[in-house]
Symmetry: D2
Subunit: 424 residues, 4 copies
């Protein structure tokens, strides 16, 4: 299914006047910054949707299926097309290989193009065994103690690069699940050295205009150690590769109470924040909807991103992606909520009066610093976000539009109740 | 110093028009609930200020002094008077004995009365040794292995009740710091049994119209175990006492990632939430300004409080108090920010459309449940909070008023730069 | 396959002399306690093996299969028979319904009996949907907002009791995975009340000689709230049921840094510790081998268990079970290691000089308290544990015996490489 | 007071025979490694005692004084002399400036020399204000927004280097408490850049044979952010300085559940582990006795240290120090327990059969890897540690000797009950 432009404008009309009033009121109260700048920045902000986020996720205890899940790459692109039509901010896809190997590249590119969807970073998978694999990754892949298995994992990553190149991707994301579940299982130094060697090999294979994003995570699926356990380890590996290798921050991949915004600032200062995965969590890598648990922390993180994108010219614009798992919600609804939450946090962060903040910091006026942030955070920026969507012909209220258009019902009709997204 | 009514109204005039416009716009958008009800509830909401929060706090590594700190109980009441004049919501004090034993009860009551300040729960202190104490609390107080030391601590608590009775307090809060720092130091069962016996003794001494609040905390100042480590332990002790004994929740007294709002709901369902201490934290019992780190969690907690105050008629209205430590801010500014943050969270929680939420829960419409909470949370309720203050002749913008009135400067002039609040 | 008595004694002979020397030396150094008492207590100590622990576990990211996994209940009992022959301490099984519904009760009981295996607590499953289920548990079971679904879950638990009764079980364990993943999804008070009502119904259905064990867990598979989030909640439910309802402690079901040993002591003091699940973890509910990460904490927990079993006559002997997940080890090897680690911790805890400890506590001699625990903990008690096994004709070194008998190889030969234990 | 050689040998005689038997038995069971090598390594292992650890510590809630605390630097050295006589492993002191500025360098050096105590790393203090300071460190020191204050802090560090040079120290440890307690207070990038500039300045001032150790810590005394929050940040700073700058690991300075041993391995692989602070903790930076809470984690960390000291020739031997706070124990007893625990963990780590471990890792035999570590860990190595002490004429049982010599009683007699160690 595809949502047509006029369907959205028809729906928008019903709340247009209300929006205009709210927007005008809000705009009239903002003096220190040009609201139009915020709106145009928001309109250009595009977050990649990973192909695996379009179906129901699960836990190790089970999975509750959702109807109308996409079974093919083409269907996944169509789903993202729905999201992009409604929000104007989902104009990219992040593929996962081997789940998403196109059979017909030309056809796939045409479908993507018809939805204005670009191919963002491609993701390799060495945390599962494929049916036809010669070696198992049970005890690791790029870090494995045996060269044969490392080589298989390296070859897989190179294949992913080849596929990405054909589609127009310009970056590879490596999330390395390798680690150990028991003390003694790993020789930490060897595991690191092997990983470094493997990743450098992959890096050197990349086309010259590609970037490499190295993800980190403290635990899960291994429960004693993970080879790339934190941003420091990721950065050592990126530095071992070269200028086009970067650290990737996933919001859920941190120990309890980590100050993530400071990590973001440190990486951007050093020009090494390459990718960014949005989600939210209360306990671990819970992969919940963006902004669902700690929206203020998300705002603080965006504050650093905004600052870094302005001041750290050595740092590329990060590659944005949503990385959530949709166990009990309609995946598309969840993604619409995630996209909205990211936009809201971004808008609020741009509202911060940086000049006043800098002055307050200069005089160590701590209460004032807090008030300045709070002033931006407490502002109801939804009219600004809506205006940004309106400007690109997207829906004022994407979730409501999704429901009134009966998208899920149609997808179930088209695809059936018992399809399953490939992958996990 | 005392802030006069006309000083506040003069200041309010400068932002009156702006406030009215904002309020009218906001009020016009709220249909599902009577805004006036929210305003009058907010106007009645009073949070006790603990006497120790008026001076600079510190850490084990040191303390940076602040000028103009109150040195006497009378001065502390005057400081709270300043807060209450500005906010209309600080109409109570929570005393700490032995730091705040009045010399002249009549005079102290008159000062409090002149500020419209009531005497909320009184707090005992058995976590420090007093200069003239016969026994040391180094190894515990109400839980101590030796009866003599338990008796001294029990007698102290009874004295605190006597002092509170003379002032008009109606409740005692016990925060028991007792615990152990090394495995083996405590026999857990004996420590619990001794504590139970001690607390029941204190409970039975209370006048019949008094309530007992039993605080819990997982660690600090002991670093292996705390006798009352969690709400379950507190509830066992409260049940051992009787109907007028309750659990007290302090937001900072939980292990990482605890779902506090669920604890609040469970306690209120059982009629056992007696007291509530506001603050915020990122790592442990950081005692930061309310709402400074996790404002959404605060909103979710208020959602449970609002629900419980409406539905759990067996639960008394909790006794509210701010329990923060002001290491690097002007303590009065910090308290103004805390009071404001609590009001904002309360207002947002009251805005939740409970009818729609209940319907969405009934149909397991998870996305919708989230949207309903988010809709209330994202609303900029500051005009409502300001209106509530306006209705009781307090300041529209308390912190700005505090600054424009040069309160701190005057306090330093009156009291000097090097005074120190008694206590820690 | 079945291990014969003489196979074990043949293997034991090879290290008999070495064991005797080690044991004699150790026994000669222990003066304050009768070593034979420890040995006989250890020999009687039986830990149930859950039927689901005999196959390879997995994570939400995938599962690496292990060869020779048991495919039927009979095969599972045979595997436990192997463990029990080798260790003498695995004389019970904990079944999981519906994974383990016997087709022929008599035959199953005969197999169990032939291995000297008793039927411990039976476990219900309402965290997954069964193929033929009328209602889905996607949004809860015993706590569900709808009575129909609660009733289905209650009926399932009653059926589990019926099955257990036929087999000779005397207790039901309820691990309730119900909870919510997003704020607003649950009305906490209703979820608790529904759960209480459901569990009381199940409790009342139990035969009079049965016990009910109520497990708690802070998170996973739900990532915002769990209905029975902590021991306090479990205890409220147990108290609502009656005298034969108890709390069950699973070592992995706690927030970071929880003092579990104190929870054990508190529950036993109140006669409410009914069940105990062994495993170990570094980050969350990692379900690692017992003692693999925090063996000292395990020792401290056993110290409380030993103390409680001696002093709390109102508390029944807890029902012991291993609850681990074997993702990268041979499950039987993992269980042998777990059984050994539990025995070692138990032996060390029994070695504590309780008389001296009590004296040191009485005089607040903190260093001495620590030394007394340390003295027991640092003792190499393996010869005592081995002697306990020897006394019941089990293997001195179970893991080595398991390997030298090529058990896994034989199981693969019998059952094939690609079988899978039923269940997860 | 000073403990004489013959006092110790007299006491040793009472348990000599028992020790010999235990040692001989143990030695006879160890085949895979030369026990004498372990003993001589242990005998050479020296851990610096920080001058502030000799008095009672405290928490922000208060401090319970201990009798006989050293009031002068000379007395502190004498206390360390007691520890070194008893253990043979406390042959170094780590001074804290300005608490320990010598009045008479020659005299102080002679006292140290008389106890065979060397001057290890010197520590600067910019987390407190000194009475005569021109600028306050309330809002930071080396990271401060204002150059004047940074310069004062830099000058202080240079003075510390000068003092250390006169005493024979060869390294400076910087623990930078700078950070922020509220979002917005700090511009993270500026705070980092200022810190980098300041530390490079200090580094360049150091004599050519000096090393710089940069400590990290996630929180406390600041409760939102710390400028050097983790090892990654420390390493960036060390790299900015040069070859003689290193990261310092303090065991208590990590977020919950951190895999510290992996950090140690990573730093040593890169030649950047310079200093190491021992202590233990359950919740945060609890500063408890070494090995008191997580002895197995300590063993695993020592495993990495042993491995790194053997294989990472680019990494200097780390500078060892105990960094604990003695709130409720006799500080000297606490230090004796800490020294013993470190020795025991070191001995166990050296017992690991590295050859077999490497083989097991090579074949991904996870159970075996775990067994090999466990085999070393479960061994009662106390006779080996005692033998190492015996070889350097120290006490077989230092804590018992300390008590039987009535050291504390004598110190109280000499110094009085109410002295206080300078500093915190």
């Amino acid at each position: 299914m595809k949502i047509e432009q006029d369907q959205i404008s028809t729906i928008n009309k019903t709340s247009w006047q209300q929006h205009n009033e709210a927007f005008d009121h809000l705009a009239s109260t903002i003096k220190h910054i040009d609201v139009e700048d915020i709106i145009s920045t928001l309109a250009e902000f595009q977050i990649a949707i990973p192909s695996w986020a379009l179906g129901a996720g699960g836990t190790r205890f089970g999975r509750f299926r959702f109807g109308g899940e996409p079974a093919t790459l083409a269907q996944k692109l169509n789903d993202i097309g729905v999201l992009h039509s409604l929000t104007g901010s989902a104009g990219a896809v992040s593929l996962h290989i081997p789940w998403d190997i196109p059979e017909d590249y030309k056809a796939i590119k045409e479908i993507a193009s018809s939805h204005n969807i670009e191919f963002d970073a491609v993701n390799s998978n060495t945390f599962q065994d494929q049916p036809d694999a010669q070696h198992s990754y049970k005890f690791g892949s790029l870090s494995h103690i045996h060269r044969d298995i490392r080589n298989q994992a390296i070859a897989h990553n190179k294949e992913v690069i080849d596929i990405g190149t054909k589609l127009g991707s310009k970056s590879l994301t490596i999330w390395l699940a390798d680690g150990s579940s028991f003390p003694g299982q790993h020789n930490f130094q060897k595991a690191f050295s092997h990983t470094r060697e493997s990743i450098v090999d992959i890096y050197n294979y990349m086309p010259e205009d590609w970037k490499l994003f190295i993800e980190y995570k403290p635990y899960e699926p291994n429960f004693y150690s993970t080879v790339i356990q934190d941003w420091g380890t990721s950065l050592l590996l990126a530095n071992a590769c070269g200028e086009r290798a970067f650290t990737l921050v996933d919001l859920g991949h941190h120990l309890p109470n980590t100050n993530i915004e400071q990590i973001v600032a440190t990486l951007m200062l050093h020009g090494k924040l390459g990718g960014f995965h949005f989600n939210d969590s209360k306990y671990g890598d819970d992969d919940l909807t963006v902004g669902a648990i700690k929206p203020y922390a998300l705002f603080l993180i965006f504050n650093e991103l905004v600052y870094g994108m302005k001041h750290n010219t050595n740092n590329p614009t990060p590659s944005w992606m949503i990385d959530a798992s949709h166990n009990i919600k309609d995946p598309l609804e969840d993604l619409l909520q995630s996209l909205d939450a990211a936009m809201i946090a971004y808008a609020k962060a741009m509202l911060i009066d940086q000049k006043k903040l800098s002055e307050a910091q200069q005089s160590n006026d701590v209460s004032r610093c807090q008030e300045i942030l709070k002033d931006a955070y407490l502002t109801d920026v939804r009219p600004i976000v809506q205006q940004a969507r309106l400007n690109v012909s997207a829906a004022l209220h994407p979730l409501e539009a999704y429901r009134s258009l009966n998208v899920r019902k149609q997808l179930i009709k088209e695809r059936g109740l018992k399809t399953a997204a490939t992958g996990l």
